[in-house]
Amino acid sequence: MSSLLEVNSLTKKYGNLTALNNLNFELESGHIIGLLGPNGSGKTTLIKIICGLLQPTSGSVMVEGNPVGVESKKVISYLPDTTYLGNAASVQETIDFFMDFYEDFDQDRAYDMLGKLGIDPSAHLRTLSKGTREKVQLILVMSRRADLYILDEPIAGVDPAARDYILNTIITNYDEKASILISTHLISDVENILDEVIFLKQGEIVRFCGVDEIRSNEGKSVDGLFREVFKC
């Protein structure tokens, strides 16, 4: 029952291009996992398949024993790498929308985080800067009581101070049974909060191991190892 996510011989092809090549892995509950890889290594493709936004060419993904679908979407809270919120609504209206949409959405948590980041709930989304809008999106995603949070580049567009706050939010706001899969290039910023990392290279997993394992076995940081594995 500890297997939260199971990926079996997953392959995705875009025409002639193989984006993911026969991936096999499992994620357990209660972990924070970094999904790391250079541009075009298949991170977002993998995430989109897990979230049901893309169909795999072959292979399967099981979430808590269910195939990707209504049941899996109930337990996954997904932050895409692009903005998906409309411009017309205010922050407050967007929260109401999420309340209607997700039964596990915790409104108090959302308002609490907005307050801490100094974001006015009555502000219209179109008046917010890109970074602030990203913060709002992350708050919405982290305010659900999900079992698996999938964050695609959650901190790329925000300033370092807010980055610290966001990472802290991630650490303090997920409960022990939930797992978080974070895809990012900003390894040195996130590596201290990770349990495990998956290194993706040209659609294949080249490493899947604990971060303290890397530090004690290789005497380098995850960032250092990444630079070595993906040396151009």
Binding site: I171, N192, D212, R215, G224
Partner: protein, 118 residues
């Protein structure tokens, strides 16, 4: 908020070192309640699992104990703390001696320097 952890050494080991210094220096006195895993994790900006692992290890070493309903406490056994202090001091001194040797100083010179500067 951060504990200045180094990314190229295992984080849980550095957390232990940090807490050991807190205990020896008395900022976490004998018998004091240890903050929750979550609070500490947030303070150190690390993953709660890593913090949990560090605290369990410290329990195993007898530096902390868990009371079933009320949480985790620093040991009140002063002898454990004294021996920890000795260990930490001797590690520090070993490092210092090595460094002085690299500078080519002999025992007498080092002792004199220490006396003059302490």
């Amino acid at each position: 908020m951060s504990w200045n952890l180094d990314s190229d050494r295992p984080i849980f080991i550095q957390i232990i070192e940090h807490l050991e210094y807190d205990i020896v220096s008395g900022s976490m006195p004998p018998g004091a309640k240890v903050p929750s895993v979550r609070e500490l994790a947030s303070e150190a900006a690390v993953n709660p699992n890593t913090m949990q692992r560090a605290l369990s290890e410290m329990e195993r070493q007898g530096l902390m104990r868990t009371e079933r309903t009320s949480g985790r406490y620093v040991t009140d056994d002063e002898s454990v703390i004294t021996s920890l202090k000795k260990n930490l001091a001797s590690v520090g001194v070993d490092g210092f001696i090595k460094q002085m040797k690299r500078l080519g100083l002999d025992r007498e010179e080092v002792l004199k320097l220490v006396k003059d500067n302490y």
